[in-house]
Amino acid sequence: MSILWFALLGVGVLIGLFTALTVVVTGLGVYNANDVTFWVLPMAGYLFFALTAAGLTLLSSLPSVFGMKQYYPMAKRASLLAGATLLVGVMCKALDLGPITTLFNTVHLVISPNLSSPIWWMAILYGFYFTFVAVKFYFIHNNKWHSMGGKTFAVLALLLMFMAYTALSIVFGIADARPGFFGHFTAIYFAVTALTSGMAVLVLASHAHFAFSGGMPGEQVPVYDNLSKLFAVLIGAALFVFILRAVIGFTSLQGAFDGFRYIAATGIYRIEMWVGLIIPFIMMIIPVVRRSRLGLILASSFVLVGMFFGRLVMLLGAQIQPMGNLAETRPAFVTYFPSMYEFGIILLALSLSLLIYSIGVKYLRLDATPE
């Protein structure tokens, strides 16, 4: 099983690497993007993985920063998952910039910074954030949870998560030209859904591991039982901000929300609502399902699928309605379906994050706690 699993991930990574190499050599012309829908599936991948990483970083900080010591058994796992999802999230964004010549230009983030640009802050803060998450994991892995370095980097990783997350929210928040991004409400939407998708990854990764490794250690049962309940609450909170966003989008008289209203009538919005929120919420408020491993694995998988579609909904809702002179010779709403290269980038991100986690499970004792 293990060999088959790693072989499968290897194939995913290889296909993904071919895709990434094509993008780096030829540019973004291989995506089904254009000047109207310019932030598409790879950008959705970036939002999905980077926000999931934010949620995981907060969860991994519960015992070490906030003193909730009962959660130590999941902290190392959450920390590795945060690093893995953050790495592939940043990779998705890099593969959404352009060919190698454009990627070289990123040196100007350092030598020609624009401090008034939220994108600049986002890029720089995510760089530091990833570094701190990696160093934090190094300290945890070496059982130095409570060393000066361990504590410092746990706090720094959390702090940088908040800062990077804030910058990402502001990127959309200040886009006055596109109210379809929901302005600063996006910060609230991101906060709740990031935590929910982070929890979903933790629940899925933990229970999938326990399913294949002969069961959960007895002393960890109360911890994961608590997490399951917390997961249910988070899905409920995500459903609440989803409804709030729908109310804003449907009741606004601004024509800029027509794109959102159009997207809301499509399958991807329904997947976000039903698969990502309503069905898992119903599942998780039924005690017998919440306590079953299969129920948790299915509910968390559903949430993650829905959240991914939700990121695409958010991006496309503000783009599919051509703006200004781009509306010339185009219909009121443009259509979009990802190219196989866009799917390839997501496959690479998914395979790589799973590969990192699987290696962690196999070699890094992810349920280790401070002695």
């Binding site: 030829t26 540019g27 973004l28 012309g29 995506y31 993007a33 254009n34 000047d35 310019f38 932030w39 910039l97 352009g98 060919p99 010549t101 454009t102 990627l103 230009n105 990123t106 100007h108 983030l109 020609s112 910074p113 624009n114 008034s116 640009s117 939220p118 994108i119 600049w120 890029a123 990127v171 200040i174 886009a175 006055d176 030209a177 596109r178 991004f181 051509p322 703006m323 200004g324 002179n325 781009l326 509306a327 010339e328």
Partner: protein, 241 residues
Amino acid sequence: MPNYAMVIDLQLCTGCGGCIIGCKNENNLPEGVRWSNKMTETLGRFPNVRYHYRPTLCNHCENAPCVRGCPTRALHKIEGGITAHDPDKCIGCRYCMVNCPYGVPNYTWDRPHKEWQDTTELIEGATYSPKALVDAVDAKGWPIFNPDPDVGYKAIRPVGVIEKCHFCPHRVREGLLPYCVEVCPSHARVFGDLDDPNSKVNELLGMFRAERLRPELGTRPKVFYIREFCPCVYERSKGAI
């Protein structure tokens, strides 16, 4: 230092698209990219229908949201308040496309003028292939390559960066008008210095009520529209129920 602006007289504009073509030629724009563009609108119900035509270009906003959001200052202000772009600094993030309310920046998705690298002859042995034609006239990229924008910019922008109208600074620095202004056959585009009280743009702005695109966003565009082509007359009435 001047403060350049453009006034477009919609009464003089015939909608010929000469500005669009002229701009494409002057700046070697690749297929699908337009720095000078248009917005059209059809209003009314047949047979009482009216077609409105508005030429567009970068508004070179005083509070340019693209400049504020560009992470590497690839989009920046140069002399005359022109919003310029440096492709060597552009990281292709396309945040300018998010922020521009006018849909102005274009991202170069594919290698520019790649159709001119085609070696297929339309009639074998009788016509040039696109690539052979480019080679025959010793041009770069496409047969009517204009090297002039190379002064301070790139005559052809590479793949993976954005590009946009820059008021032809390579011409303005030489005392020439932007090319879209130069080629307009009906003198509908007027270019000049907003800070010069005697400039033609100020003369027109002092004479007619001017309109700017989406002023509510606070971008303070520097492309003004005056008048409207309308030879219509109608019989006065208060309408009816």
